[in-house]
């Protein structure tokens, strides 16, 4: 028992080392992060303005509600993008810098290696997504008097476990294809969100896409967060349990997929520097 506790302690020290390294790297490029944040705000505005556009072209909608719905979709999209990008960079960036072989040679379990990146990605993503939400909400003067932000935040954190698991599966792509793997990750992100009702209700999708939406964690995250912010709903079990189940499946599956990718890379000599 004591030996297990010591092992866990050492693993967590390794994980915290990876988190710490990512903090240093983010600090190093903090002004570039600010620039990218401005781009994200601009991108989000182009989506959220659609609500105003509908009214301007004669449509009759509750502008405030649709604006908030679109904003939530855009923020979750941006958040998922951050998680996937960080995990993808675990491999892609290290390949570029030429450190990947050393990282794979280090006595750190893959779970802790990827977990360290994932923990930092979630913290960083939550900060950026929250800032994005606040900035755009202020821009449009959204009031959201009934919003239950705490419930929305907790649900996003729960959903992050599943996002992280799926992110691990996509982060293997640059291992398999050093040249195009990273771009394939964006396709996975897009596929996930298109079936999850990012800017529209899932009910408008064709039936086969609605079936797919039931295995996407983003479906439950978007539904629950919208309910919390628009209607002040608390955590709903019907959103939480699917996320817990998908998380419980996707984390070990993600680790297994990454392990298979690592085996492939080591058999075929794909760990070389690509930069």
């Amino acid at each position: 028992m004591r030996a297990m506790a010591m092992t866990l302690k050492h693993e967590l020290i390794g994980l915290s080392g990876v988190v710490e390294r990512n903090i240093y790297l983010t600090k190093r490029y903090i002004f570039w992060d600010v620039a990218f944040f401005v781009w994200t705000v601009a991108n989000t505005l182009t989506i959220v303005f659609i609500a105003e556009g509908i009214v301007a072209t004669g449509g009759e909608i509750d502008v405030e509600q649709v604006t908030t719905q679109l904003l939530i979709g855009a923020v979750v999209w941006a958040y998922l993008g951050i998680i996937f990008a960080f995990l993808m960079e675990t491999v892609a960036w290290e390949r570029w810098e030429g450190t990947i072989e050393y990282t794979f040679m280090a006595p750190l379990s893959r779970a802790m290696h990827l977990g360290g990146t994932g923990v930092f990605a979630v913290i960083y993503g939550l900060v950026r997504a929250s800032l994005l939400f606040v900035v755009v909400a202020l821009f449009f003067g959204l009031s959201m008097p009934d919003a239950n932000f705490a419930a929305a935040l907790v649900l996003l954190v729960i959903a992050s476990v599943s996002f992280f698991g799926i992110g691990m599966m996509t982060s293997v792509l640059p291992l398999i294809s050093p040249e195009k793997g990273a771009q394939l990750g964006f396709i996975a992100q897009g596929m996930l969100l298109v079936v999850s009702g990012v800017y529209y209700p899932v009910s408008v999708l064709p039936q086969w896409m609605q079936w797919l939406s039931t295995i996407s964690p983003a479906t439950y995250a978007l539904r629950g967060i919208r309910a919390s912010i628009l209607d002040g709903a608390g955590l709903a079990w019907e959103d939480v349990w699917p996320l817990l189940v998908i998380g419980a499946v996707s984390i070990p599956l993600g680790l297994w997929v990454f392990h298979r990718g690592e085996l492939y890379a080591k058999r075929h000599g794909k760990l070389k520097r690509s930069g």
Partner: protein, 327 residues
């Protein structure tokens, strides 16, 4: 040698390399029918390294040196044969194995480009579970030995190639590896820096009784550090033995550099003239005849200076590769 630090038996690494003819037609054809060629990067090699031994692993580009080192470090899976390092199978990634080895590649970096080396050292401390007092003591010792106290606080990207190599080596040794694989650690460095790295490797090996396997294209590295060399070409071992024996086995000649008082005349009657620079003439003579030719020169010529030398190791290695190509 059951207690070998490194034991390699019939090690094999095969890659399937895609290939096609030039042109649009061949490119289109390869979309549906991809042609690959089997390349034996390492072709059934066997050797052992005793604990504390330092061995030069020599060969031209593409000989299979780096592939072998990567298999011994667990970065590449073997296609056949067996490799054991400190009793471990490298591909299994056992913690006890990973904590006791290091691979330093002259053309790669383990330190984060954007961070000062000190930050990366701290990460290594966490990952390799080095107790802080041990970490601080060894870090400071290595930093002092390589005189890089003012470099470790700068982002790695701002360091010169030689400076970067020095901090890379420190980063690789913080966990006191017992087996060190050095893949061209002095590549691209000036002669002064090469000498510093060589001295440092020798000192580290002596202090920590480490086993070292070194590849280098600079024969000065090999001559200064290694008594034993393994020569590999086209994935096969051509020679494994003492450096001195390599010269004796392959190059059955010596060189005599001679300066005559009355200027360099025609000395072709003594041996093959391979170099002439003013009054200095260098002759190549069969090893068995060296003593006789030297005696003749001293008796028949007015000699100001005379040196008998083994052929340069570069020439010997070149000869090994040339012989392999002919065979």
């Amino acid at each position: 040698m059951s207690d070998a630090a490194v034991r390699v038996d019939g090690l094999l690494k095969v890659f399937d390399v895609p290939e096609r003819e030039a042109g649009l037609k061949a490119a289109t054809k390869s979309l549906v029918r991809r042609r690959t060629r089997e390349v034996r990067a390492v072709d059934g090699i066997s050797f052992e390294l005793a604990p504390g031994e330092i061995v030069g692993f020599l060969g031209p580009n593409g000989a299979g040196k780096t592939t072998t080192l990567k298999m011994l470090s667990g970065l590449l899976y073997v296609s056949g044969g067996e490799a054991r390092v400190l009793g471990h199978v490298p591909s299994k990634r056992e913690r006890d194995f990973l904590r006791r080895i290091a691979l330093v590649m002259g053309n790669r970096n383990q330190l984060q480009w954007d961070l000062p080396a000190l930050d990366s050292f701290e990460l290594n401390r966490s990952i390799y579970r080095i107790p802080r007092p041990d970490f601080v003591a060894l870090r400071d010792e290595l930093v002092e030995l390589l005189e890089i106290g003012d470099l470790v606080r700068k982002p790695v990207r701002q360091l010169s190639l030689g400076e970067r190599m020095k901090v890379e080596i420190v980063g690789s040794l913080l966990h006191r590896p017992q087996v060190l694989f050095l893949d061209e650690p002095t590549i691209g460095l000036d002669v002064t820096m090469q000498k510093r790295i060589r001295e440092f490797v020798a000192l580290y090996r002596q202090r920590h009784e480490a086993t070292v396997m070194l590849t280098s294209h600079y024969m000065a590295d090999v001559e200064a550090l290694c008594e034993r060399v393994i020569v590999i070409h086209h994935g096969k071992i051509l020679f494994d033995g003492d450096l001195a024996a390599l010269s004796d086995t392959v190059a059955a000649w010596k060189t005599i550099a001679v300066v005559l008082e009355n200027g360099a005349g025609d000395l072709s009657g003594y041996g093959e003239v391979i170099h002439r620079d003013g009054d200095l003439v260098t002759l190549r003579v069969p090893k068995a005849e060296t003593a006789r030719v030297t005696a003749r020169l001293l008796a028949e010529q007015e000699v100001l200076d005379l040196n008998v030398e083994d052929p340069p190791i570069e020439d010997v290695i070149e000869l090994v590769f040339a012989q392999d190509a002919v065979e």
